[in-house]
Amino acid sequence: MGEKYEENRDVKKMNNSETLKIALKAAVEAGNTLIEHNKDNLKVSKKESLRDIVTEIDKITERKIIEILKNFNSEITILTEESGISKGKNENLTWVVDALDGTVNYVNNLQYYGVSIALLEKNTPIVGVIFNPITEELYYGAEGIGVFKNQKRITVLDKPFEEGLFTVAFSGKNHDPVNRTEEFLKFGEVNDSSRGCLRTGSAAMNLAYLAEGKFSGCWGKANKNWDISAGILLAKLAGAKIIFSKGNEESNLVSYLAAVPSSWETLYQKVGKTIGL
């Protein structure tokens, strides 16, 4: 019953429901590819640090997503983790794609990773999908439509800081090494003054779980645009309070803090300054 999309359809006529559908299709098909290959003996290459790695599967999956998105409309710019930017005629809209957020978890058979696809309009996310294919958790949403997990509409679960569980995505080891110790100290401080703080390995899933009410807040320093764009939108649509700050356009770095309303102020006071917000 899937609709057949005409190539190069007029961008002006598109609306969020159409782009949401294509993001859903791309995320689920990419997820299926990840599952098909998860028993393979993967060749792992290091990128910026020991834990910043890439496999052939990241690349295969990314190509599949790009093909689906381009087939839908080749005028939209596409920014992906592995291939970088592919500029389209349309300067207002950009797909931002991480075919596998949580590669370390994936190669270690930990079930905490996902495909993340967002559509940005003038740098603001308007459509987002995050799919964890191993747990079959499909998070999706769009401005004007709402936010869902699989069948159900979701919202954050508002609770005071002390009763919340939090999660963090650290910056790469080589980024701002002077303040590295301070980042770990803040992680410990949040961990010891709440129900706990986790370092999970997937910023996209952190934000999806915040949107669903599993986490009360999360933050990240110098994360990549493709890790968090979809999650930022989903968490916002689910009722989280969010602040973020982007680095220069070429670096694609974003620092952010997102939390349920009742935990926001305490979390911000504890870690906001450390991550430059």
């Binding site: 899937g2 859903l24 299709k25 689920v28 699989n150 069948q151 159900k152």
Partner: protein, 366 residues
């Protein structure tokens, strides 16, 4: 002294049918309703009219009410209430937890889900929560000529309300029955009524009609609904060894109900929340699974399931079904969204019949 009833939900069952079970002349009626506009209209007039279809005409009952509250406002009177009746939809039942906790008031759940009384009873720690089956179709509105007389008018059928006999002391015109009899009535209602009823609605939405009786005027739809009902009857006879005479009587009665031209039962009311109806043990997926477990291929129910997948109503709580069915592959939709395991017979048969059934739906649209 008159008994007093606190009724949660002034919709189809609460406002349309309950006044025929408990005569407003003998009971004081209080409502709790979260639709502010309806609440204000009810409080302004302090009465409304419920019409009951009766052999081609309407019986009329003027229902005087004491008060209609917004949720939370009923706190002031709850201690003086003889019984609570809920008709707010299964998904909303836990919203009553705070208000009803630690009371011993008898609570009658008219929620079209037999698991609800136990759920509510456990969370509010009240053993006096019982199940009731309004064996009736009730619209949540009325035809224009009746609305012109009273904008709060509502139409119900002439039917029976089966209630667990643990609360028979409440009296009224209900039929208080044993747990066993209630279970039989529930099986019949769940599968002979609910399954074909929602199929009639989903197919009706495809041909773009407004009311259920209009859907049943389409010969193709009537045939599918009737055959789906027969599939359920065969399953009930095999699996539950139910009395053949009873299930045949029940199914004939239901078909006539669906065609009742006086009822004006909106399609959107019956079809709402398709994901709830597509849950594993519910009236569509659950019904098909039961048929398959007895060796019955539920071809007509399968088409009903597909028509639920195709339900497209932007303002429905489950409107996201449209994005999902129109984007991801059918095999993924069945697995990830409908939670069917690829090793299950139903998964395989739905996939095998997918194109054929979608063609039928497309033809129906035309």
């Amino acid at each position: 002294m008159k008994k007093s009833l606190l009724i949660y939900g002034a919709g189809a069952i609460g406002r349309g049918f309950i006044p025929w079970v408990f005569d407003p002349k003998q009971y004081d009626f209080y409502y709790v309703e979260n639709n502010l506009e309806l609440k204000e209209k009810l409080n302004k007039h302090k009465k409304f009219i419920s019409y009951r279809t009766n052999e081609g005409t309407y019986d009329k009952r003027i229902v005087e009410i004491k008060e209609c509250f917004s949720p939370g406002q009923e706190k002031e009177i709850i201690k003086n209430i003889s019984a609570v009746i809920t008709a707010i939809g299964p998904r909303n039942i836990l919203s009553l937890q705070k208000m009803l906790s630690d009371t011993n008031i008898p609570i009658i759940c008219c929620e079209n889900d037999s698991s609800i009384p136990n759920l509510l009873s456990s969370v509010i720690k009240n053993p006096n929560v019982v199940f009731a089956i309004p064996d009736v179709i009730t619209s949540n509105t009325a035809p224009q000529e009746l609305l012109d007389q009273d904008p709060n008018s509502i139409v119900t059928e002439n039917g029976v309300c089966y209630i667990d006999d643990r609360v028979s002391f409440l009296g009224g015109e209900a039929k208080y029955v044993s747990k066993k009899e209630l279970e039989n009535q529930w099986l019949a209602k769940l599968y002979i009524h609910n399954t074909p009823h929602c199929i009639a609605a989903y197919l009706g939405s495809i041909v773009n009609v407004t009311y259920l009786h209009e859907s049943m005027q389409n010969k193709f739809i009537k045939n599918i609904v009737s055959n789906a009902m027969n599939e359920m009857v065969q399953m009930l006879l095999k699996k539950f060894s139910m009395d053949k005479e009873f299930v045949n009587w029940y199914s004939e009665k239901e078909l006539k109900r669906f065609e009742n031209k006086l009822l004006f039962d909106p399609i959107y009311r019956v079809a709402r929340e398709p994901f709830r109806k597509l849950a594993p043990n519910e009236r569509l997926i659950g019904a098909a699974q039961l048929c398959l477990s007895e060796g019955i291929i539920p071809e007509n129910i399968l088409l009903g399931i597909m028509s639920a997948f195709a339900y497209n109503n932007e303002i429905d709580e489950d409107s996201n079904i449209t994005y999902l069915i129109n984007s991801i592959a059918s095999k993924d939709f069945l697995r990830i969204i409908i939670n069917l395991n690829p090793t299950e017979a139903l998964y395989e048969i739905l996939l095998n019949e997918w194109e054929k059934n979608m063609k039928k739906i497309e033809m129906l649209k035309k």
